[in-house]
Assembly symmetry: C2
Homo-oligomer: 344 residues x 2
């Protein structure tokens, strides 16, 4: 199969095909877009041959210009270094490819103030819709999307005042699973360690669920924030937890994989062993959780589904279907390991 002639100057255009087939550009266009209908078989085959011969592919740019639709999906992620964002990206990219869309990526790198810039840049390329896994810090970002009148799907983080489909882990349920599991194993004084909430909806929801559920269960429910580079503070929080608990076994529920790492470091620094000196469950399954200490218990998010469903939601809307904004909550799955085994 020899490569197509590849005219050195520029790509082959619809005009080339038309000339080659001895028809008008309009006919070629019709062949491409309507194929069977509106076309005499003989002409159709003539055009088909020419297309083949020249290896012609229509320019999506020109098509976008003309039709105002680009077959592009804009994806804004808060931080591509976060495995969760990657999982979303992956699911979205897959679904998009299948539906014939291409993904344009904008990574905020945790700089929330760039959110509007991202949306603007993507909108300029006529993306047909957005998937947003954003910081939610910029109240104007919602307007920005609304202004373009393009459908959007929010992932993981709700955005105050933006009305759009929303796909996420069922945060409250996940926290309840973690707490129940720890209580069932005999841990009695619980500390929820979160990244600084800072207005991020998912973080706030998890903290709220933790407070509510521990109170309902009548057990000690404390909350601490673990920020970057604050290892000392976290160790301090753990020490206080144990001091306050007396002889009741203490355990930590970590809000995500990053926090799990920080808690692991703090525990190591204190010389505490998981499953013995400290019970532990962390939200977010990782490939390494089973290798740390006696194995870290985790609550796995259905990341693949989240990404896939987010993209599907968007694509459904791009195909013109119209629903009221949906909210899709997916259950997490507890993976019990040594760190949450029966308390001493």
């Amino acid at each position: 199969m020899p490569p197509p002639p590849a005219r050195p100057e520029g790509r082959t255009t619809i005009a080339d095909v038309a000339r080659e087939a001895g028809v008008s550009k309009a006919t070629v266009s019709r062949f491409l877009n309507h194929r069977d209908t509106l076309l005499s078989p003989q002409i159709a085959t003539r055009v088909e041959k020419a297309v083949q011969a020249l290896g012609y592919m229509p320019s999506p740019m020109a098509q976008a210009l003309k039709r105002g639709r680009s077959r592009l999906i804009g994806l804004v992620v808060a931080d591509i270094a976060n495995p969760f964002s990657v999982a979303v990206l992956r699911g979205a990219e897959k679904a998009a490819q299948q539906a014939g869309y291409l993904v344009m990526l904008f990574n905020l790198g945790n700089e929330s103030e760039r959110e509007r810039e991202a949306i603007e840049a993507l909108a300029a390329y006529q993306v047909e819709g957005f998937i947003l896994n954003t910081l939610g810090a910029d109240p104007h970002a919602a307007d920005e999307v609304a202004r373009h009148g393009k459908p959007a799907v929010l992932v993981d983080r709700k955005h105050a005042g933006m009305q759009a489909d929303f796909v996420s882990l069922d945060n409250a349920d996940a926290v309840r699973q973690g707490v129940s599991h720890l209580l069932a194993a005999g841990w009695r004084e619980l500390l929820y360690v979160s990244e600084p909430v800072a207005g991020v909806s998912s973080r706030a929801e998890r903290v709220a669920a933790f407070r509510e559920f521990t109170r309902a269960q009548g057990v000690g429910g404390h909350v601490a924030e673990a920020a970057e580079g604050q290892g000392e503070a976290l160790q301090q929080a753990l020490r206080e937890l144990r001091r306050g608990a007396g002889r009741r076994p203490v355990a930590v529920l970590a809000s995500n994989a990053l926090v799990t790492l920080r808690v692991s470091d703090a525990a190591a620094a204190l010389g505490w062993q998981f499953g013995r000196d400290l019970g532990f469950v962390g939200i977010d399954e990782t490939e390494w959780a089973h290798l740390v200490g006696p194995g870290l218990s985790t609550i796995a998010q259905p990341t693949d589904d989240i990404g896939r469903i987010a993209a599907s939601c968007l694509i459904e809307r791009l195909q013109g279907r119209d629903f009221p904004p949906r909210q899709i909550l997916l259950a997490g799955r507890l993976l019990a390991r040594g760190s949450s085994q029966r308390a001493p």
Copy 2:
């Protein structure tokens, strides 16, 4: 700052601005592209005001169509689930954003046969160049890129016959660092565990460097491949390693983070402890390496630099500079931890 008027129908075009400012489209275009030169100050300010008032942003699609340049960079990654690919993506995305480019992503998901499809799709959108972190399995992919006459940068994996800039870890040096370190610590019989080489240049280079260097040092240098789901085989290889070594301490050099995981599992299954029963160094630093056992020694790739430099290389070429194909090898950095401490 009220949001711009946001005409409900379609975006504001250059014509709108021209009308608002009472000038011609050409003048607006000149203002946008040449600003200072070619424009009387009064008109310039008039246009500037109009642009501001309408919140006008030119359509990159139309610009691309006209100029044949799109300010888009095509990025093909072998597997977005691989942290290395993510690091590249991240560096590339950052550099691209700074230079005013946007990244179009195509993830192969380890399906090498889609490589040409990816290049075609990206080329159709007039990407100005490619960054390829690919499988290298498709010999025609190179032609595909060449055919479009667009610059490309290869990352991590060379592509037979494609002549392009190449950015990568200095594989031979990294392997030598690992081997030297293990030998210096007293480990004597070494096993290199790799993913199936399968024609991937970086994998082959590392294996070759290992064979060569261990022979030069006159120590035992064995090689095993660890494929997905072959845990048993890997355990078997480790057992044989030790049997053959007699009383000489045995150690593993793992080819990447994935293999590190597999070796860790195998060691755990055998009940061997790193740093005592088995020396260990793994290529690729991870956020969790310090938490496993006595800490896993790793060789960190300068992933950020790799991504950034790859993008910079490409952008330099996009700006018209012309060099012969460059090959940029970056040194890895050994992080010694408990797993490679002095052999018993």
